[in-house]
Symmetry: C5
Subunit: 96 residues, 5 copies
């Protein structure tokens, strides 16, 4: 799973009908501390009612379809947790 | 999913027969804003009748076979949405 | 599989219910010698009761769901072994 | 899918018996134009009787096993089309 | 599939029981010529009784579980062939 910050949203009227009612958010991977945003951005389906600015966990690949919402849909990334707290190298580096 | 711009098309007469009638387009990943094209290019099967220049979402891996067109075909990338609108860091960065 | 050091932990109250009772640890990939930590960090579900500082093996993708704990969960990385000993280029480079 | 040029071949007498009768070719990814060879090389099973020097499409991951030849084999990359023609940014950049 | 050289071995007493009796070797990817070792190292389950120093092919992802030994195990990489001979750009670049 990747630690990422939600930075934006997408709208598309023409899309595969199996993902018609999903919320597609733009995520930017962060470092282990939840601080520095790294270069990579990607779009994930939101499963946990996350909002812009939230620090989240995303999972990728076939893992993204192991939920009732995404089963058998063309989905390769989902937001599956909102992070409250990160502790790295003995220090609390993020608290919501 | 990746945000990408469609930059080209491919023709091949010799190909695996399961993908015989598919449209194979060349995509170039963009940044989260849908503006700057990044280095990576790849080929994806078009599911949404997209055209050259369109900004799209592509999904990858086994996700690409979760549709009637691509089921049980040797496909690892599909175009599954045409983007109308991107909003990043509170600004509209792309509008179709 | 990747060689990684466990560097931290995560807490999240809002998460997909299928992973409710799992321990999500932050891993940092190391080189083959188990010494130098590389740039990449990721979060994995712990299957072997590993602790902070342990050198472990993680596996990724659908492999991560080949266990009773993670079956049919949105999981793309698990810690599946604690390393005791690494031998590289004829030298023991790590011993627990 | 990736655009790649076939640059070589491999021989191995000791191999998993499920891939005993396959042709394993060395591929080097190219840019979108089919011109510049990029750094990455990999080995793929040939499904379309391709030859050294051909520009091809390869697919990766579980997609590679969606054919009678590779089904249930330890294969993660196949050559599934020989490219005749690439058009990028409005120009024909490759013609066989 | 990747071309890699086996550079080391791992021992771990605490590991997922499904991989209890497997041999876990450390592999370092090489270039197409089988000569220069690249940066990336990873651990793979040995299926072909390979030894330290051998040049091998490894396959990744769900492909790694398409064998009796690795079926339904948390495995994402296997060594599935020992290379005898590589020919690249018309020259034999490796012979065992």
């Amino acid at each position: 799973m990747k630690i990422a910050r939600i930075v934006g949203s997408t709208i598309s009227t023409i899309k595969n009908r199996r993902i018609m009612n999903t919320k597609l958010l733009i995520c930017r991977e962060t470092d282990a501390f939840g601080k520095k945003e790294l270069g990579t951005s990607y779009v994930a389906i939101d499963l946990v009612d996350a909002g812009i600015g939230d620090l989240v966990l995303t999972c990728h690949g076939s893992a993204a379809r192991q939920t009732p919402v995404t089963k058998e849909t063309p989905t390769d990334a989902v937001i599956m947790a909102v992070l409250d707290h990160l502790e790295v190298d003995g220090e609390i580096t993020f608290r919501n």
